[in-house]
């Protein structure tokens, strides 16, 4: 038991040490190290962008932009803070900037919802139908509510962290989450009735 605990402690220490070394090497100009960081983090960054934008091409653009901005800003990154969280912050900024640039809401129509839901449901192993419903319901939420729900409930950020990322007040964040959960509950109920 103690042996296993020590083993997992070593694994964790190794992971942290490896990541830190990769970040430092990338900050020093190694694209090889940065590619390794990309491989480690691209799925989470893309998942976040896809859920926040609910548009596949936009999500790809945002994920790409996230890594480009990360490369640009790596020399200023505080090595001891979490690299994944830092990347997520950049990804959220990329999504918000994309939204501003296009001067349009990132809400989606039904046909795109289906594609998004299926893309996201591919990763499911236990209940593809239920997950597809949830992903589709998330994608159909209004952008503000969707952003808060994705960051708070899917990626586990606190209201303080989420509001800081989105540049909104904590109270607004809580209100948006409440709204998102109500809408989500209603849409899931209706999806269940349709089955």
């Amino acid at each position: 038991m103690a042996e296993a605990q020590a083993g997992s402690e070593i694994d964790r220490a190794r992971e942290i040490a490896e990541e830190r070394a990769l970040v430092e090497a990338a900050a020093a100009g190694s694209t090889l190290a940065f590619e390794k960081l990309y491989r480690r983090h691209v799925a989470r960054v893309h998942g976040l962008c896809l859920r926040m934008t609910a548009q596949r091409e936009t999500a790809e653009d945002c994920a790409q932009e996230t890594f480009v901005q990360a490369w640009r800003n790596l020399p200023r990154f505080e090595v001891r803070s979490g690299f994944a969280t830092w990347l997520h912050r950049i990804a959220v900024n990329a999504v918000l900037a994309q939204k501003r640039r296009r001067f349009e809401s990132l809400g989606v129509d039904g046909s795109v919802d289906d594609v998004i839901a299926e893309t996201l449901a591919d990763a499911n192993v236990s209940d593809p139908g239920a997950r597809r419903d949830i992903e589709a319901a998330i994608a159909s939420l209004p952008p503000g509510a969707r952003h808060v729900l994705v960051l708070c409930r899917v990626y586990g950020y606190s209201h303080e962290e989420t509001s800081a990322m989105l540049g909104i007040a904590v109270g607004t964040c809580k209100a948006q989450l409440h709204r998102a959960r109500q809408l989500l509950g209603a849409r899931l109920e209706s999806a269940e009735e349709d089955r």
Binding site: E3, A6, G7, E9, I10, A13, R14, A17, E18, R20, A21, E24, A25, A27, A28, G29, S30, T31, A33, F34, E35, Y38, R39, V42, A43, R44, H46, G47, L48, L50, R56, A59, E60, A63, Q64, F67, V68, W71, R72, P75, V79, T119, L120, D122, A123, N124, A130, R131, I134, E135, L149, R153, V154, Y155, G156, R181, L184, G185, L188
Partner: protein, 203 residues
């Protein structure tokens, strides 16, 4: 009753949301496009190139330290049972961690320095119980980590106050401390503190 149902429903919803996989692979590899953009950026900013050249060497030293720490910890873990079963070999002569060499602007926190000295002293005792092969590896790895720190220090002499080098140096010592703590913990039969306790210390 309705409130109870609502709460149950909300909890189920939260559980379902938390169970969604955070990672979703993009349908195609984005790296080639990203790499092309990075290359364009680098071509547009040639002034940064000289700095990156030495910084990469220093970062390579840190990579070496991370690899060394892992190798040592794994090695010690593997040999722990065997080493405890063996009768203790003669005490190792001259196996002592080199003193940390910080640049003038990088004096370590006294608490950190004390912890490092304490762990080093404990390690000397533990090393006597290790099989010769494991002991030699550990000695070599410790020397390698200290050499890396010395190299970064030398670079700092040429580039005093460089924030990246300062960060690299502090990380090197941080990694060394974490490695010493892990080795001590793995070779210890009593619980004398965890690596996390030591690594949590501020430099």
């Amino acid at each position: 009753m309705t409130q109870t149902n609502d709460t149950g429903q909300e909890e189920r919803l939260d559980r379902a949301l938390r169970s969604l996989p955070p990672g979703v692979e993009p349908p195609r590899d984005l790296w080639p496009r990203i790499e092309a953009r990075l290359e364009r950026m680098e071509a547009e900013a040639p002034a940064q190139a000289p700095r990156r050249a030495w910084a990469w060497q220093a970062a390579a030293a840190v990579l070496l330290v991370a690899g060394t720490a892992l190798l040592t910890a794994t090695l010690v873990q593997r040999s722990r049972d065997a080493s405890l079963a063996q009768s203790p070999p003669p005490a190792v002569q001259g196996v002592r961690a080199m003193p940390a060499v910080f640049g003038p602007a990088h004096a370590p926190n006294p608490e950190y320095d004390a912890a490092r000295q304490q762990l080093s002293a404990m390690l000397q005792q533990k090393m006597a119980q290790m099989p010769p092969s494991a002991r030699q590896k550990l000695e070599a790895n410790l020397a390698e980590m200290q050499r890396a720190a010395a190299e970064i220090n030398a670079a700092l002499d040429q580039q005093p106050g460089d924030p990246l080098l300062e960060e690299l140096l502090l990380n090197t010592y941080h990694d060394e401390l974490a490695m010493l703590a892990v080795v001590n913990q793995l070779t210890s039969t009593s619980d004398a503190g965890t690596p996390a306790d030591a690594t949590r210390m501020q430099l």
